[in-house]
């Protein structure tokens, strides 16, 4: 049976608080590690934001190339990047508290 690719949940469905990792396991030997681990910052971004970061790296950080590839204007790409920077700063601030 084909494995269903499930989306990583980031927030608690009951209270909306950010989720943490409690259990990890090795697929090949079955070893399990349990504890309370924080998700890496990038995984806490939305799918769209993660896709933006991947596109940004692929285009060597050229916003002009990104705008061309996505068929949108340069200021729109720059605005998306600025909003993403704000979001990352907010997440980092949350981590620091």
């Amino acid at each position: 049976m084909e494995e269903v690719r499930r989306k990583l949940p980031l927030h608690c469905p009951a209270c909306e608080s950010p989720l943490r990792v409690a259990r990890l396991f090795c697929k090949s030997c079955g070893t399990e590690v349990s504890g309370s681990f924080e998700l890496p910052l990038i995984t806490r971004l939305s799918d769209k934001e993660q896709a933006f970061i991947i596109d940004f790296v692929k285009s060597s950080g050229s916003l002009k190339d990104m705008a061309k590839d996505r068929g949108i204007s340069y200021p729109t790409v720059r605005n998306l990047l600025d909003d993403l920077i704000d979001r990352i700063k907010l997440l980092e601030k949350g981590d620091a508290l």
Binding site: I72, S73, P75, T76, D83
Partner: protein, 202 residues
């Protein structure tokens, strides 16, 4: 496809800005200037239009350029003060000029025969004479249709205002209160400044 076009009409600046918007906007400005010159339809400000005593082509061109540059300058200065993004003058100039393309349609209103008759009304004549002229105008066939078309032209001014709002939003990356305040300053404050400067041309 339909959705793409609707998206473009609602916010063209997600797709075009900078040099491309400036090029299309310049084409619109040239066409608008020629139309306005042909019909003697002056831009007194960003939101005020009508007859004026200077029929020279340069005057129409100057009005169009002033109506473009003043709000663009206000948007740029406001953007520098309020935006955290690195804004580019070419984006503001291009998107502001492109946003004024819908005004081309308001220029067409001046081709309506009743517009010329209204413009020809001499305020120096007696009130009775003016009333008699207006009554004769109302009695003409197609007058009310022309009035309805004039109201439609207001929709294009509103559309221009909406595109100016989107131009500011995209080119300066502003949101909420900052966006609303700077837009009002650019549109209404810009209109007042434009009216003052354009008044010097007559």
């Amino acid at each position: 496809m339909k959705k793409n076009w609707l998206g473009f009409l609602l916010n063209p600046f997600e797709r075009i800005a900078g040099g491309t918007a400036l090029a299309w906007g310049t084409l619109g400005l040239l066409l608008s200037t020629l139309l306005a010159w042909q019909t003697d339809y002056h831009y007194h400000g960003l939101l005020h239009f009508g007859p004026a005593p200077n029929p020279a082509l340069w005057c129409f061109a100057a009005e169009h350029v002033i109506v473009w540059l003043i709000p663009a300058l206000l948007f740029y200065l406001g953007g520098l003060a309020l935006s955290r993004s690195r804004i580019r003058p070419i984006d503001i100039l291009g998107t502001t000029l492109f946003a004024q393309i819908p005004l081309l349609f308001t220029n067409l209103m001046a081709f309506l025969p009743f517009y010329k008759q209204m413009s020809a009304l001499d305020p120096a004549t007696s009130l009775e004479e003016q009333l008699a002229q207006v009554t004769a105008m109302v009695a003409q066939p197609g007058f009310w249709f022309s009035v309805w078309l004039a109201f439609v032209s207001i929709a294009f001014v509103v559309w221009m205002g909406y595109w100016m709002f989107k131009a500011l939003q995209v080119s300066c990356n502003l949101k909420e209160v900052k966006l609303g305040v700077l837009f009002c300053v650019g549109l209404f404050g810009g209109d007042i400044i434009c009216r003052f400067i354009i008044g010097l041309l007559y």
